[in-house]
Amino acid sequence: MGTSRRWIFAVVGVVAVAAMIFRPGFPLSVSQETRHVFDLIDSLDSNSVVMISFDHEASSLPEVGPLGTAIVDHCFRKGIRIVGLALFSEGTAAGYELINRRASAAGKTYGTEWIYLGFRPQYTSAILGMGEDLGEVFSRDYEGHSLAESPLGSRIHNYRDIALVISVADGSMPTYWVEYAQARYNVKIAAALTAVMVTSYIPYLESHQLTGIVAGLRGAAEYEQLLSAPGAGSRGMDAQSAIHALIAVLIVAGNIQAWRKRRSQTGRGTNQ
């Protein structure tokens, strides 16, 4: 048992690595949900402001990071300003790094085209507080500048100045955005989720409390396809396809092996 298990581990590793290097590139159809979020951002005026909240734990970054990256790229490409923040402490640094990296790639300047507010605990009061006076919740940004003195920071006072809030999340945080920010201040909320969370949020989408959902590595790959800029999502999708197929093959192989073993045992039984 021990050796066959090690073989399986080795094959999983090799298949994943090979798929990421050689990129078989299975055609991917874009889901309606992803296209909807893409169109939503695409329809915003340049110069409008999108708020991106990183509401996830560090361990979910491989899955939600590519999603965040694709959305940030799209906003910057359209000339949309980004206000970043985090309501989960572990998302704080990751979110800042993510926007910073894409901003320097796109040649965007901090303070005028994007800012990062940082982290606030007690998410309910943070979400509600920003609806009244954003400057009261965050008087200084993540880099320590006063919000009133930054060109972008002085432009945003509450959700009226925000065209769309996107919660990049691996848990229940988008429900809080819906229940407090959307219900009370009527701001549009979209969610960028891990794949396992999707089913929990479909009801919110159907009731139009959530404006859009993109989810998982597949969502990122679809979004990258719409941007015609393949990245981590598309690369991951090939590995994803390959490993899913491998697991299906392993299930079948396991059954064949069990069946052969059973047959040889019953065979022995009749010989005795």
Partner: protein, 206 residues
Amino acid sequence: MRDRLAIITATLAGAFMALQYFITLPIANSAYRAILSWMQIIAAFAIVVGVFGVIRLHLERIGRKRAGWLYSVTLLAGVLVMTILGFAGGIDRGTSFQWVFDHWQAPMQSTVFSLLAFYIASAAYRGFRARSGESAILVMAAIIVMLGRVPLGEWLSPILPNVSDWILNVPALAAKRAILIGIGLGMVATSLKVIAGLERTYLGGR
């Protein structure tokens, strides 16, 4: 006397926390929040007790030069590094505390998590045996959904994604709802036992 006090505490706290759900008075809400924060503080003090216990255990291993005592040194070094960095340099952006978290702790955590991809493969090989009608259904559902959710499945058959969605949204949802209802009833019964003082394992007896 001490244990009776504990049982009364559990009963009163439980009854109040359950009843405040129905009460709109601001005082009930602030008492609810206060008790929640007390629970959080108790858990925080317990962390101190827990950490103290871990340190004592590993110091003992080092002192007695038990097998693997060098690993205990590593563990204590880890505790010490984070504690010193956190209290001396702060925990905000750009501090060494954050650096160690970003470059050592978080990547190792993600790596442990990603072991799952390997374990899923070995569990799939071993556990999905179609011995009976029941397990055959299990295997079929797994294979269809697994392939239906990636581009490869779409390429194999265009109806696979739809079948996979149907499985998730109809029969799987039915079972999930029933399982949730069962768990909900189990939780309510267990909680009632606690509040009624019938369940007292946490006091070390029944």
